[in-house]
């Protein structure tokens, strides 16, 4: 989709003056998105910008405009590497990386879009490994990631080198606190619902 088509699609879901999206993002991220004055410093320094369908400064503006679908269906929120260059450099002190976290959570919650299933699947596989072992068990996590993402063949050629370099353990390292971790996951999920 080129830029013109993308822009042409935007008015369809605008909430315009209602500001519900802006209020929700600001409340959940703790970032003052409304103070963005479109200097584009975040986008200029973003290392992932060439791989994004929306730049971070465009996302800030679309939040002002209430373009919920365009943002939550974008690839950009999943392409973000959380490097925080934007947060560190924003002249208004907006924690843009925290906004990206919030947008990812909102995208997962509404369960409609499947934009970038891979990063979602990675997050899911990683956290389920931590939930059950208390620590990450790479071999188990990668198996689950491949099942969730259906990305079966990527990196399989590297397994022998991983094993040779002892970078891939075949058995999990359990933390003795694994049970406490499971309870922490449960309570953290309840706490998130209250926010």
């Amino acid at each position: 989709m080129n830029a013109t088509q993308k822009n042409a699609a935007i008015p369809s879901s605008l909430e315009w003056a209602d500001g519900a999206l802006l209020a929700e993002v600001e409340r959940r991220s703790g970032a003052a998105v409304s103070t963005c004055f479109q200097c584009h410093k975040c986008s200029s320094g973003c290392p992932i910008a060439p791989d994004m369908d929306l730049l971070s400064s465009q996302i800030m503006r679309l939040i002002h405009l209430g373009a919920r679908n365009e943002i939550l269906d974008s690839e950009a929120i999943w392409a973000c590497a959380s490097c925080e260059a934007c947060t560190a450099r924003c002249p208004m002190g907006i924690d843009i990386a925290a906004v990206m976290d919030t947008l990812r959570m909102m995208a997962v919650e509404r369960k409609v879009s499947a934009s970038d299933a891979r990063t979602r699947s990675f997050n899911k596989a990683f956290l389920s490994s931590v939930r059950w072992h208390g620590r990450v068990f790479e071999a188990g996590m990668m198996t689950l990631y491949k099942l969730l993402s259906r990305d079966f063949f990527a990196d399989m050629d590297k397994v022998p080198r991983m094993l040779r370099k002892r970078k891939l353990a075949l058995l999990p390292h359990f933390s003795k606190s694994a049970k406490d971790v499971r309870n922490v996951f449960k309570r953290a999920e309840e706490e998130e619902k209250k926010r």
Binding site: P47, S177, A188
Partner: protein, 293 residues
């Protein structure tokens, strides 16, 4: 000097050489490390992308364990664990709602008084570059090194805050103390793509090539890092990142603790150099030779 040590999941698997070399260097420099008993994963990027409460609670569990074991400072080597532990501590200290929530989730109160330190911070600020220079037995004479800090050690400045966010210099100082030449180059704090390594490998390889070629053009023979994600993306993935780019040679990307270890005269077997994909043998031979001259 004694610290509670938080190894983290990467140091148990993909970055076992960072674990081994960190412990070896600390031992050589009389920095005592005691592993936090039954530590758990910090949650890393998947936690802060998925559940803000969990992203604070998991690090807090570890800080509580360190505090219960009687420590006041936690040391980590992994840049990602460092950023997550620091961020959680910062939130608990700045925001009473966060503090109470973390207490409810973990079932124990945490007051936020523990200090979280990175190995670089401790080496440069507690021990000091001058003291380290005195302990160098095999200076890596003339080796041109690009120090790569990446994102998690330098950002956000109000949370990590032990070096300049845009122009950090602590690793360059250690390289110089070890007898090497610190190359001035512009991408010190650019991101390598970090945890996108698995889900967006193409992006990571594009960023990797950009970093490697810039270091090469600046005259570096090798790069030093202090983050398991940077190391994996730049070393393990280097053959793919350089595919179709004949303009740069093999560039070893090693942990600062491995470089420092060689210069401190620690045998290479104790530094896990065999875990490197690129040029491990060549580099250690070069260091050994430089030490003799």
């Amino acid at each position: 000097m004694k610290y509670a040590f938080f190894p983290g999941c990467s140091l148990e698997s993909t970055a076992w050489d960072f674990d081994k070399s960190t412990r070896a260097v600390c031992k050589a420099l009389d920095i005592e490390l005691a592993d936090i008993p039954d530590w758990v994963c910090c949650g890393s990027t998947p936690a802060h992308s998925s559940n803000a409460s969990l992203a604070v609670a998991l690090p807090v569990m570890n800080l509580q364990k360190a505090q219960a074991a009687g420590y006041s400072e936690v040391l980590t080597a992994c840049a990602s664990c460092y950023a997550r532990l620091r961020t959680a501590n910062h939130k608990v200290n700045e925001d009473s709602a966060e503090r109470e929530r973390a207490g409810r989730i973990t079932g124990k109160p945490y007051d936020g008084t523990l200090k979280v330190r990175h190995i670089l911070d401790v080496l440069v600020n507690d021990l000091g570059v001058r003291a380290i220079r005195k302990r160098i037995l095999k200076p890596i004479k003339g080796l041109r090194v690009a120090s790569y800090y990446g994102c998690l050690l330098s950002r956000p400045p109000e949370v990590v805050a032990f070096d300049d966010a845009e122009h950090p210099a602590c690793m360059d100082d250690l390289v110089k103390a070890a007898g090497g030449q610190a190359v001035d180059w512009p991408l010190k704090t650019e991101c390598c793509g970090a945890s996108l390594s698995i889900s967006k490998t193409g992006v990571v390889n594009r960023l990797g090539y950009r970093l490697l070629s810039m270091a090469h053009r600046a005259g570096a023979e090798c790069m030093v890092v202090a983050c398991p994600l940077c190391q994996l993306n730049l070393d393990f993935r280097q053959p793919e990142a350089r595919q179709g780019h004949a303009d740069i040679p093999d560039i070893p990307v090693i942990y600062i603790t491995q470089l420092l270890g060689l210069a401190l005269g620690i045998p290479k077997e104790a530094l896990g150099l065999e875990a490197l994909t690129i040029g491990a043998g060549q580099l250690s031979a070069r260091c050994a030779a430089a030490g003799r001259s």
